[in-house]
C-alpha cells in the first residue's frame, strides 16, 4: 500500500515535470510560429518539419555558449537569481488537478500531486515568490538598467497581487472552498465559474499577464527603454533559465485559470462520455480537455503579445490601483449581496 502510493506519486510528479518542460520548450517554438502567422511570415522552418526541432537547437545553443559573470556582479546572487526563478516557477503545478480520479491497475488514482486545503492561497504564495528571481538577478548584475528592471518588477508584482487576491475572494464566496480539487469538482459539466464570475475572471486574467511579466506588462525587461531589463547582463544558460521560467509561469497560470474559472477537466456531456468509455479512459478525455483549455490560454497570451503595445509605467500603475482594485472590490460587494439574497429566497 505504502510503496504503491509512493510509486504512484513519483510517477505523477515525473510525468508532470516532463510535461511542463515539454510544454515550456514548445511554447518558445509556438510563440515564434504564432508571431510569424500574425505578421504574415513563415517563422522557424529549418530544424525539422515545421521547425519542430527548433527548441532542441535553441537549448543546445544556450547550453554550449560561454558562461559570463560580469566582474562587478555579486557572484553567488548572480547565479541564484535565475535558479530561483526557475525553481519557483515549477512549484505551482503541485496542487493543480489535471484530471478526475482515474482507475488504473485496479487502483483509484487522483490526477493531482497533492490536495492541500489551502491550495488557492498556496498558488498565491508561489506567485508572490516569483518576483525574487527577477529582483535578486537584477540587483546582483550591478547594472543600472538591470536594477531599474528589478525595481519595476517588484512594484508591478506587488501592485497587481492585490487586485488578483481581491478577484479570488469573490470567487471563494461562490465556491466556499480553498481546495482546487473541490473547486474543480463543483464545476461538473457546464457549471463553469466564469459564467457566475465574468468580471472576476477578467480582473484575474489581466493580473495574470502582469504577474508573468508578459506584454503588455513586460516593463521589467522592456527592451526599448532598458536594453533587457533584469536580464541585460545574462547570457547562455542563465538567460535560458529566465526565459524558461517565464514560459513555465505562463503554463501554470493558464492551468490555474482553466481550473478556477473554466471548469478544469469538466466539459458538457462528460457523464455520457464517462459512462461509455469506463473509469480508465473516461477521465483521460477530461485530461485532454484540460490541456486543450491550457493550450488555448497559452495561445491567448501569445496573441495578446503580438497585438497590444506595451503600457507606459504610470499607465500600468494607474490601471492596477485606480481601475482593477476598485473594480475587484465592487465585484466582491455585488457577489456577496447576490449570494445573500439568493440564500434568503
Amino acid at each position: 500500500m505504502e510503496t504503491a502510493f509512493l510509486i504512484e506519486k513519483t510517477a505523477l510528479v515525473l510525468v508532470l515535470f516532463i510535461l511542463t518542460l515539454t510544454i515550456a520548450a514548445y511554447s518558445t517554438w509556438a510563440e515564434r510560429k504564432v508571431a510569424a502567422w500574425l505578421q504574415d511570415r513563415v517563422g522557424p522552418n529549418r530544424a525539422g518539419i515545421f521547425g519542430l526541432l527548433q527548441p532542441l537547437a535553441d537549448g543546445g545553443k544556450m547550453f554550449f555558449k560561454e558562461e559570463i559573470i560580469p566582474s562587478g556582479a555579486n557572484k553567488y546572487l548572480f547565479v541564484a537569481g535565475p535558479s530561483l526563478a526557475l525553481l519557483v516557477s515549477f512549484l505551482g503545478s503541485a496542487v493543480l488537478p489535471f484530471g478526475d480520479t482515474i482507475e488504473i491497475f485496479g487502483r483509484t488514482v487522483p490526477l493531482q500531486v497533492t490536495d492541500i486545503n489551502v491550495g488557492v492561497l498556496y498558488i498565491f504564495g508561489v506567485v508572490s515568490l516569483g518576483v525574487y528571481g527577477i529582483m535578486i538577478g537584477g540587483w546582483a548584475s550591478n547594472n543600472k538598467y538591470s536594477l531599474m528592471g528589478a525595481i519595476r518588477g517588484a512594484s508591478q508584482n506587488i501592485s497587481y497581487e492585490i487586485a488578483m487576491g481581491l478577484s479570488i475572494i469573490a470567487l471563494l464566496l461562490v465556491t466556499n472552498s480553498l481546495s482546487f480539487k473541490e473547486i474543480a469538482a463543483q464545476q461538473h459539466g457546464w457549471h463553469w465559474n466564469v459564467l457566475v464570475q465574468p468580471l472576476g475572471f477578467l480582473i484575474f486574467l489581466v493580473c495574470a499577464f502582469a504577474e508573468t511579466n508578459r506584454v503588455p506588462f513586460d516593463l521589467p525587461e522592456c527592451e526599448t527603454e532598458l536594453i533587457g531589463g533584469y536580464q541585460t547582463e545574462y547570457s547562455a544558460f542563465k538567460m535560458g533559465a529566465y526565459m524558461f521560467a517565464e514560459y513555465i509561469n505562463m503554463f501554470v497560470s493558464s492551468a490555474v485559470m482553466a481550473v478556477l474559472y473554466f471548469g478544469g477537466y469538466n466539459y458538457p456531456g462528460m457523464d455520457a462520455v464517462n459512462a461509455m468509455l469506463g473509469p480508465t479512459w473516461g477521465p483521460l478525455v477530461g485530461v485532454a480537455v484540460m490541456f486543450i483549455k491550457i493550450i488555448a490560454f497559452i495561445f491567448f497570451f501569445m496573441w495578446v503579445r503580438w497585438t497590444v503595445p506595451r503600457f507606459r509605467y504610470d499607465q500600468l500603475m494607474d490601471l492596477g490601483w485606480k481601475v482593477l482594485i476598485p473594480l475587484a472590490i465592487a465585484n466582491i460587494v455585488i457577489t456577496a449581496i447576490v449570494i445573500t439574497v439568493v440564500d434568503k429566497l
Binding site: 546572487l77 492541500i116 492561497l121 498556496y122 498565491f124 508572490s128 525595481i151 506587488i158
Partner: protein, 167 residues
Amino acid sequence: MSLFYLVAFLSILFSLLVIFTKNPVHSVLYLIATFFTFTIHYILLNAQFLAVVNFIVYMGAIMVLFLFVLMLMNLNKDTEPVKSNLIKIIGVIAGGALLVTLVGASKALQTSAVSAGPNSEIGLVENLGKVLFNEFLLPFELSSLLLLSALVGAILLARKDKKTQNG
C-alpha cells in the same frame, strides 16, 4: 520531533546571519530564509492558514518591499556607517533590557495554558474563521480599523502638499 529541532536550529542560524552579515541585501535575504523556516514551524503545528499567510504576507509582500527600498537606495557596498560609542552602549543596554523582559514574560507564562498541540485542528481555515468571526468579532474588526487608519495616515504623511509646492 527531530524535524522540529532541525528547523529550529535553522531559524536561529538564519536570524543570527541576518545580524552578522555586513551587506544589507544579504541580511534581507537571510531574513526571508528565517521567515521560510517559520512557515515550516506553522505547518508542523498543523496551522495551515497561518503558515500560508506568513508565506504570502511576510515572504511575498513585506520582504519584497524591504528589498525594494534597499535596491532603490542602492546600498551595494559592504560598508556600514561607523556609529559612535555612545550609540553602541545605548544599543547594548536597550537590547539587554528587552531580553530580560522577554525572559521574565516567558517565565510568567504557564506552559499548561497552551492547549494547541500538533494534532489540534484550530489552525485550519474553516475553524479559525469561525472562531474569529463568532467569538472574537469585535477585536477582529477593531484591529482591522486600526490597520486602516494606519494606512490612511501613512498616505496622508507621504502625500505632497499642493499649497507649499505651488508657492
